[in-house]
């Protein structure tokens, strides 16, 4: 971390950038938040650890509109989002100085808390172990057990776009590589009734706080359709029982083919709804129907929904598949 701060200071000093976009220590030991640092002085609050899960790509949309260039720290999977934003002309590559930072996996504090560890004051990492200082004394917790779901299915530690790397190297091995479609497949194997009940249970928790929308780097619209008068959907939090599912279906549909599977939606959901399962369903379908596609891997290919082939599957495939 000190290396990051040192480099940030140098870049500020030599005028390469006029501000730094990174993470700032929060009020607890495990809730850092994204922040701009405009001076060497401000960088004293800079932090980078396993709880810096926030994907800073989206903040670059605003940063690019500001005077001068911005130094941004991006973890490997954040760079997919940044690339996707370049493709959609939402950020300007030349206004960003990207330091690709190494990533050991990002952590889910709830996993620790759910294990019965309360009153956490600070957390440090020692190899494969998290050392927790709590008001009840020191505790330990295995690092890997605290990983966010997305980091148990790591899509690799290669940065897709960067100016320099710190704490990372090209060709680094990926973290734990599970089957990211495992739960999607499980749901697919259920009967429609079971699936329906699963989603009814999950989506009914939604309080329409829009955290998912705010965090999602693909949800970058200046004005969301759900805030516009185009579809009579504006400002209608929770009026209609139908609108929540509509919101989540359409949100997933609008990011289909653009979603990099960064997992921010699920990470930030205060109700713990596994929203990434909606996005991954689209990713899985796209891979199966139209060939493997990873959004953010490049900046110029056509996205699956703005592309076609003459031989594409017919929508009837959904029914046919259901009969098997």
């Amino acid at each position: 971390m000190q290396e990051l701060v040192k480099r940030a200071k140098e870049l500020l000093a030599d005028g390469t950038v006029v501000r730094v976009l990174g993470w700032k220590q929060g009020d607890l030991g495990y809730n850092p938040e994204p922040a701009y640092f405009n001076s060497e002085e401000e960088l004293k609050d800079f932090v980078y650890d396993g709880f810096c899960g926030a994907n800073l790509s989206k903040y670059m949309i605003e940063a690019c509109k500001m005077e001068g260039n911005t130094l941004v720290f991006l973890k490997p999977c954040d760079t997919y989002s940044f690339n996707q934003l370049i493709k959609e002309h939402r950020v300007k590559r030349e206004k960003a100085y990207i330091i690709g930072v190494g990533c050991k996996g990002t952590l889910d504090i709830d996993k620790v808390k759910n294990a019965g560890i309360k009153g956490i004051e600070s957390i440090s990492q020692d190899g494969d172990t998290l050392k927790l200082k709590t008001i009840y004394g020191e505790k330990e917790f295995p690092f890997n057990d605290a990983l966010l779901e997305r980091c148990t299915v790591c899509k690799g530690k290669t940065h897709q776009v960067y100016d320099e790397l710190i704490g990372a190297a090209e060709g680094e091995e990926a973290g734990p590589v599970g089957n990211r479609f495992e739960m999607v497949e499980k749901l697919e194997a259920m009967s429609p009734k079971e699936r329906f009940e699963f989603w009814q249970g999950e989506l009914s928790k939604c309080i329409r706080c829009n955290a998912c929308r705010n965090a999602c780097p693909a949800c970058s619209c200046l004005k969301c359709v759900f805030d516009s008068n185009q579809f009579d959907t504006a400002q209608k939090a929770n009026v209609d029982t139908f609108e929540e599912q509509m919101f989540h279906i359409i949100r997933a549909f609008h990011v289909a083919g653009r979603c990099t599977d960064c997992g921010e939606c699920s990470r930030v959901c205060p109700q713990g709804i596994p929203l990434h399962l909606l996005n991954r369903k689209f990713i899985k379908d796209i891979n199966e129907f139209y060939g493997e596609y990873q959004a953010g891997e490049d900046t110029d290919s056509r996205a699956p929904l703005t592309n076609y082939t003459f031989e594409d599957v017919e929508p009837g495939i959904v029914v046919e598949r259901g009969q098997k």
């Binding site: 579809f231 929904l305 017919e314």
Partner: protein, 147 residues
Amino acid sequence: MQVENNKEFRPKIVAFCCNWCSYAGADLAGSSRLAYPADVKIIRVPCSCRVNPMFILRAFQKGADGVIMCGCHPGDCHYTSGNYYARRRMTLLFSMLDYLGVENGRTRVEWVSAAEGVKFSTTMNEFVAKIHSLGENVRLEDLRCKN
């Protein structure tokens, strides 16, 4: 409270038809007097690619029991490629609805040319029969009923 169990189920079905092929196919079904149930109501759109998933969800929201989209056959789109985009969009949308547990027979896409009055009519008859077999649409409206 008396429940009207015996009341005959009259499904509400919305059919989005592209102006150039399917709407004309429906016209041909009409002028050829090829009957299909009155439950089907057609909305004219210029091309199947004009059909926004929002329209389909909105129809279900407002009480539709089935939504069908008809367009020119692949390769025959009046606008060259509109139906190819529509095909991808609908495939993914229908798959998602299926994933959420909505009966997958409630949505359908059929390619009907201007010359296929017979196909239009048989498609609508089949679709209405399918909706009858599925009964009233409750799931899409109910996903969040546990308030």
